[in-house]
Symmetry: none
DNA sequence: GTGGTCTAGACCACG
DNA sequence: GTGGTCTAGACCACG
């Protein structure tokens, strides 16, 4: 899986990494149990500080998306908790985006199509 | 309209203000042409600096949501541009949220219901 | 001559009035010696404070564009000084606009056409 | 590149900074990808507050002229959008200046020469 | 070290 | 009274 960093984005690099890995897991590009690159390998590959990659991995671990052990490095967790709900932060963000969609004249139907595309299958 | 600031949020105060006003306009709680509280009034009410409120208003102004004049303060714009599209930032955010929804086991159907609620009939 | 005020513009109202009268003189819509509306008439017509119109007239007078006397009110001056040069402020502004035109990819030729249109005849 | 602030000008300091950087980019004095001084360095150099410089940079960023990142500070953007048009504000300003040029007796030809000089060959 | 946020307080032009 | 500008100074996350 290829991680692309936009160094000029307002989104911090560690979050960009975290987000792309989460999206990779969600889309199936990263499968359950799959090995992630080591912190050193990934940081070398994308040319950023190891601390930054490490921070991303720590967050993914604390969120229950990956597991790390000293031997094998990091792997996608086999059974990710299915809370079947969004975090409050995500709900607030979604609410904000819905508001901005409405205000810009996007129809409910068009919005649905956008999400269909993002959802996949 | 009541603005509520979460001082522990990662979202900067000026953005919280901006977001809540945009959501107020979208929901109809703030109607076109309606007067917003003055910078001083709002900053006193929510207990934050006038500069911070002023920054929120300036962003809203630059985004075309409100208009300000020296005599009457700020008002919701009568005709907000209908671009009928989301900004790239909003698209990226939405994609991320969709990914996290899927990964947490939320069904496409449940997600749709969540958006229905946020959309308002 | 009709004066149109944009109450939400960043340009102060007194300057909008001043500018439109100058443009009226330049275009010939206001001819030399022509009587301007009284401060009271104009302020009533466009619905703003008499002080604001008065300020515009005072500036026009100090710039040598109009003459006022107690009997006849304000008139366009018969012989406006032909300095044959722009003020430093106008030069700076023009330089800034030229820079922004260039940077946005406008060709020298297109810019010339724009000015031709504005110049008239 | 040297930034000169006129503290007696009606143009706000943050706009003077913004304008001079835009003119620097347009003239080629600042080349694509070139590093700008840090907010702190520039504010120390010209003796004004960091907030004021920061505001100038944020405007330039929002206009697409520069990019900022936390590590390297600000740089001139590599590919600035070529809208090939002036903003309405710039058009209005240009129209006003053209009027004042005409009224002061400047010929169309002389005006053209002025712009030629500003344009740079 | 970098930009970003926020405050308390001041001053200003506009109207 | 209104928004806009500016300062001095502080603190923060990111990297």
């Amino acid at each position: 899986m290829i991680i692309k960093i936009n160094e000029y984005s307002d989104v911090p690099i560690y979050l960009q990494i975290r987000n792309q890995i989460v999206m990779g897991i969600s889309s199936g590009e990263l499968s359950a149990g799959e090995q992630l690159p080591t912190v050193r390998a990934l940081s070398a590959e994308i040319g950023i500080n190891t601390m930054t990659v490490s921070k991303a991995y720590q967050i993914l671990k604390s969120e229950g998306y990956i597991l790390t052990d000293r031997k094998n490095g990091a792997r996608v967790r086999m059974e990710i908790d299915q809370s079947r709900s969004l975090s409050n932060e995500n709900k607030d963000e979604l609410k904000r985006i819905v508001s901005e969609a409405r205000i810009s004249g996007i129809t409910r139907n068009d919005f649905d199509k956008m999400i269909d595309e993002m959802w996949g299958n």
